[in-house]
Symmetry: C2
Subunit: 238 residues, 2 copies
DNA sequence: TCAAAAGTGTTCTTATTACACCCATGG
DNA sequence: CCATGGGTGTAATAAGAACACTTTTGA
């Protein structure tokens, strides 16, 4: 610890995995790189962390620069620091994932944002650096979180139908769910409020609209309950 | 991204949360700091990451220097990078937790190791820097992991009794478990092998010894099963 | 009147909980 | 012969899985 100067030579970045949900499809926001290295490839939005800036602050800054959005769900995923992961030197990156409502996304937030595009999670390939590994880690964490914490609602508009919610879960968990069982389970937790409003302008019977109630969730947790939308322990292989 | 020199000024450390289990008690290995800053305080064993060294390599190195042990369970927890967390400059630390068998621990592994001591997790307080927060994060992760992955066995000797295993779970989850239900559940997964050996030298009926079978676990996972020793979703408040 | 998605209950199976007594050993 | 922890089963309850038809709307 005596020769500290030797150690203060690494750079660190944050990379954001920004998830959105649209058209029954889980999406991730990627930026087309406009400069070397890896020019032309799609990459996670990220940036170096400034000297007087906390990691979470940096992640929020990158999020806002890319989407125009602040104050949304943002959680650290994992740190990647393989010696040769970046061609310009020792760069360690801390990854975060965030959940946004695609409708809130502002494509004109910055010149950075204008190079951004939503990609279906299932079709992403050939990202810059080790971003594919970083994305996979974030996606796996999202899968775990969505089962045990009510974070899925962050991806939906404030008013949503139960079918939209189910499709969100199906997209994230990459599985099919039974409509009646799903509704029974989510409604039995008593965290949704029936708004007594109906969808409009759909060419079929309109669905009821619900919202998630944060206050109810706080009481739910305080009462010792645990949010759970897990599948069974034995996944039947078909 | 043009003036990279500005960014290559931070230092990286790893800090290890080394868990052990003894006397029905979950322990963590701490080092008494022999130099400023925070001299005399207990801290997690950690060190700067060397230039050509991966993060996981660094964590393994610290583990070996502290305990004399290599090739054990080691997993990244979280990265802490608040601007003022270290008095000597911008130091970002990546925390890892490892699970070791206390019997394998070699107090004479290094001069570093000789300053180390096992502390009961419930009695730890007043650690150096932000190490208390780091420890808490690691402990929470261990609680989650131990329910869903068969990692608890890393803390027990190769041959153990079911009561030892139960006490391990009780120490980590900080709860009491029902003996019959615990046995039924763990044995029903068919991951333990009854060694047909008995404890010796105990002043009561000797218990049967079991070992965990990695090969069985691989088949279990391949068959689509999920390890689970969760509690119920409603924790009864007494 | 058709197409599309909304909405709704019951039965069966499986998992979880609660609970108490006899057994084997060493001192 | 006593103290200590080892070992065992059952019944009641709760949770999960499978499954099909009627309703409402717009085109």
């Amino acid at each position: 610890m005596t020769d500290l100067g030797n150690y203060f030579k690494a750079a660190f970045t944050v990379d954001n995995i920004i998830f959105g949900f649209d058209d029954d499809d889980l999406k991730v926001l990627l930026i087309k790189r406009g400069e070397e290295p890896e020019i032309g490839k799609w990459a996670l939005p990220g940036h170096f962390v400034h000297q007087g800036e906390d990691l979470l602050q940096a992640a929020n800054r990158v999020l806002e620069e890319t989407t125009g959005i602040k104050n949304v769900y943002l959680e650290q995923v994992k740190t990647f620091g393989t010696v040769d992961r970046h061609p310009l030197g020792r760069v360690i990156t801390v990854s975060y994932y965030s959940l946004i409502k695609i409708a809130d996304y502002n494509v004109n937030a910055s010149s950075f944002a204008r190079k951004a595009k939503w990609h279906s999670i299932s079709k992403v390939k050939d990202l810059a650096f080790d971003h594919e590994e970083i994305l996979n880690n974030g996606f796996q964490l999202l899968k775990r979180r969505v089962r045990r914490r009510p974070v899925g609602f962050e991806l939906l508009p404030p008013k949503f139908t139960l079918t939209e919610l189910q499709h969100l879960y199906e997209a994230i968990l990459e599985t099919d769910l039974d409509k009646r069982n799903f509704r029974k389970k989510i409604l039995s937790m008593n965290l949704l409020v029936d708004l007594n409003e109906l969808q409009e302008g759909v060419a079929h019977r309109p669905a009821r609209l619900y919202k998630f109630d944060q206050e109810k969730y706080r009481n739910f947790v305080a009462g010792g309950y645990i949010f759970d939308l897990s599948e069974s322990k034995k996944k039947v292989v078909k």
